[in-house]
Amino acid sequence: MTLILLIMLLMGAGVVAWLAAQWNTAIPKWIALMGVSVAFLVSLNLWLQSNPAADGAWMIRSSWPWIPAFGISFSVALDGLSLLMLLLTFFLAIVSVLSSWSEIKYRSGFYYFNLLWVVAGITGVFVTMDMFLFYFFWEVMLIPMYFLIGIWGHENKRYAAFKFFIFTQASGLLMLLAIVTLYLIHGSQTENYTYNYFELIGTELSPRMSWLLMLGFLAAFVVKLPVVPFHTWLPDAHSQAPTAGSVILAGLLLKTGAYGIIRFVLPLFPESARDFAPLGMMLGVAGIIYGAFLAFAQTDLKRLVAYTSVSHMGFVMLGVFALNDLAMQGVVMQMITHGLSTGALFLLAGSLYERTHTRDIGQMGGFWTQAPFMGTIGLIFVLASLGLPGLGNFVAEFLTLIGAWDANRPMTVIATLGLVAATAYSLRIMQRVFLGDRTPTQDVADLNVREKFIFIPMVVLIVSLGMYPKPVFDVVKKSITDAANRDDGVPVKSEPMLLKGGTHE
């Protein structure tokens, strides 16, 4: 019930924010802030109450009939993975609302409506255990995002919004076909026509059908993740979206792709996933290298950060298809830390844009002297992005690489080169924006109180995740063991769990 209420709360707050704008355009942001803060507190409370040692994998499972004629139910559940994703979602939602505080002046009511509905859709995606409902939320998060980019975006917003929408829709429809086919196959086998994830999970599939259906699901997820060569929507969408839109895109929407693979592709089609694994890892590595190279070549700051996302998401793909616990832990960690670090970099780009009205790093330089605080924050997240030990991203990428080493050594070696490239593009941001010669025309004010209030918690989180990642692994342990090792009959080589989180010492 809590989960449904969470979604309702966000949707309701969105509607109220929209309506309230009729009377006073300053109210919507407060309503939005309250909505996401309450949601964050609720999810925090869920986390504190959870007891990873005692509970089963599922902390909450509830279901209400929705369209019984088709066996569709309003079925939601929460496990460690979902919980972590919810925490990340609401945290970044608060950040997004705060970052829009002064940026959005045009039609703010409708803006916050869309923002809250995106968050509601994402929440739905992370907790739904009914495949139809999953597709439903998958689409629900698209339309508000389309509006966010299309109305409040930068100069080329229409093109970017169209491209984003059509890419994700097209791939989503392939998933829908796969979902309906799975439903029909399961129904014809058991006479029980249902979209319930827990029941569909045991469907017997012929190898060919399993392979086809997996590709249908993967289509949606690899476009969202995105995996090279399905990434072309991402640089446009990320660079044209308003700051909060970029944060949500990079921090959350990309994670729904990763989540989808872990939650659905691996458990539903274990054997096909195993067959696909080498190819998946190869695509991941291609993404790591390709994204890094393109990031290095960008002059548009937001586009640069967008390509670093492509590179970082390559690690997710690599880790997921390494198919072992260690890599999976790394993937989950990567999902969280990438959300924080890339989110922060986009926020930084937004702050710089507000001050300089450009995203071209050629026109920036030497801002450190004027804005040392901003420079420090920038340095921390740039270092996080290149995977400096002590910060969260290092733990993620390191675990992923160790896990991948067992699965496929040549791939892992190439992926490691990606870390070198990451150093190059990350330091380039630092050099071109904050160091170097000072351009005399520009006057850059340092971060104001609101911005500090946004960045400092993110710094605290990224550092503490780097120093002490154990809580994350505790929460997520059961879910990923399920996902990585679901295999019928074949004995599984299970890696010892890394619990101390001190591998890099």
């Binding site: 004629a69 088709f70 169209f162 429809l173 076909l177």
Partner: protein
């Protein structure tokens, strides 16, 4: 025909009476509002009759009609749609100078034709229904005589519809020559007695497909749609898109079930090709239009292609899917054309995409409703169109029609482009020229109808269980 049978075709009789009543009232005194009220009340009466009586009385009126669940449900659907069209017609014609009253007679007669079409099980009733529908449409399309494009559209429709009727008649004659029967049952029986399809039968069915295809506006019989949609007054366009096509779709389903057409893969292949071609051609032609009515015309071609997918799938699920899709598509189309009618003023219809620029900021509620309609046409969740499309996909996949279903999915994506193009225009910042180019007057009947349709579209998208159960109970 005894009394009991007479009572059962009462919807038809009532509709006929309503037309006569409207005509008499015009003869006594011309009064737009009065004629409008009479027409609306008669349609309400028919709907009420269907609701309380017909639902419990399923009967066959030999040899012409079969009043079964499918017929009753869809009669209700088209009567309700006609009612909605009357609601949006009144404000539309009130702002125009032509004589308005006769429009309602034509509209009721056309509805009668469509209602006859979908309960007929005999070539005679089929053809009579079709002609009542077509002849009324000829004059409805060119009702605003002073507009050149209206005339053009009317004449185009007249010539092409007459042509297609001729094809249909010739086809019927060949089928009769081949089987010696004009009722669907009889045709089915004589076909079962022989293996395969005789050549005359094949030719006859082929010619009938031309007639049916024309009415549905599917490729390659679609050439009239865009011009007629554009030239006809907005409420009439709504009528063509919904009532006129719905009757034919149901007739097609009934005909194929009764003559057991599903047993002939060759026939189904023809329909599969038509469906595929309609989806692709309709969507591709819609991509580059800058006239909203033409966009909707081409999109309707594609949508008829979608419906054919469920029709080809056949079976119980297929018929359910057809019915649900019709409900969703009717509500959505009526809403969309209702909004076009609402925004039109006495000079011209609000049909240019540029008329919608910044609509979201000048008329937020209308724009929100139009957005909902367009998203529903595109098949996005939270709207009726999504559940409808989902139903179609389920029906198609249940009989393993992979190719057609994939074509449907691909086309949904193509279609998405031009729907969101219109939405994007509505969300653009309005131009600073001040006065908008159109100055329609607002009437509450219009607004209430549109609010109801929007609520229906969203409600069917969020909670379709009620409608699904209703359809299942009828079939």
């Amino acid at each position: 025909m005894n009394n009991l049978e007479l009572i059962n075709v009462l919807p038809g009789i009532l509709l006929g009476t309503a037309a006569v009543l409207a005509m008499t009232s015009i003869a006594i005194k011309r009064n737009h509002k009065f004629t409008y009220v009479i027409s609306a009340l008669s349609l309400l009466g028919v709907f009420y009759y269907l609701l309380v009586y017909a639902v419990n009385n399923k009967i066959t009126v030999e040899p012409l009609f079969v009043i079964d669940g499918l017929g009753i449900f869809n009669t209700g659907l088209i009567v309700a749609s006609a009612l909605a069209i009357i609601m949006i017609s009144f404000p539309y014609f009130e702002q125009r100078e032509e004589r308005k009253e006769e429009y309602y007679i034509l509209l009721i007669l056309a509805t009668l034709g469509s209602a006859m079409l979908l309960i007929s099980k005999h070539f005679v009733s089929l053809f009579l229904g079709l002609e009542i529908l077509s002849v009324s449409l000829y004059s409805m399309i060119s009702y605003l005589r002073k507009r050149p494009r209206s005339d053009e559209a009317g004449i185009k429709y007249l010539i092409l519809a007459a042509f297609s009727s001729a094809f249909l008649l010739f086809g019927m004659a060949l089928v009769y020559a081949s089987t010696g029967a004009m009722d669907f049952d009889g045709i089915g029986k004589s076909l079962q007695a022989i293996p395969g399809l005789p050549v005359t039968m094949m030719a006859g069915l082929g010619l009938m497909v031309v007639g049916v295809g024309f009415k549905l506006g599917i490729v390659p019989f679609h050439l009239w749609t865009s011009d007629v949609y554009e030239g006809a007054p907005a409420p009439v366009t709504a009528f063509i898109a919904t009532v006129s096509k719905g009757g034919m779709v149901i007739l097609l389903v009934r005909f194929f079930v009764m003559v057991n057409g599903y047993a002939y893969p060759g026939l189904m292949l023809i329909f599969a090709l038509l469906a595929g071609a309609s989806m692709f051609v309709g969507n591709f032609l819609a991509l580059r239009q800058d006239n909203v009515k033409r966009v909707l015309a081409y999109s309707s071609i594609a949508h008829m292609g979608y419906v054919l997918v469920a029709f080809i799938a056949g079976g119980k699920l297929g018929t359910e899917a057809v019915c649900f899709y019709l409900v969703a598509y009717f509500a959505t189309s009526l809403g969309a054309f209702g909004i076009i009618a609402l925004l039109s003023d006495e000079d011209r219809d609000a049909e240019l995409i540029s008329d919608y620029r910044g609509l979201f900021w000048t008329r937020p509620l209308v724009a929100a409703a139009f957005t909902a309609m367009l998203l529903s046409l595109a098949g996005i969740p939270l709207t009726a169109g999504f559940v409808g499309k989902f139903y179609l996909i389920a029906a198609g996949l249940s009989v393993q029609m992979w190719t057609l279903v994939v074509v449907l999915a691909v086309n949904s994506v193509i279609g998405l482009y031009y729907y969101i193009k219109i939405i994007a225009v509505m969300f653009e910042r309005p131009s600073d020229k001040g006065e908008p180019s159109l100055n329609p007057k607002l009437y509450w009947v219009n607004l209430v109808t549109l609010v109801l349709l929007s609520v229906l579209v969203v409600w069917l998208g969020v909670n379709p269980q009620g409608m699904i159960a209703l359809i299942k109970s009828f079939l």
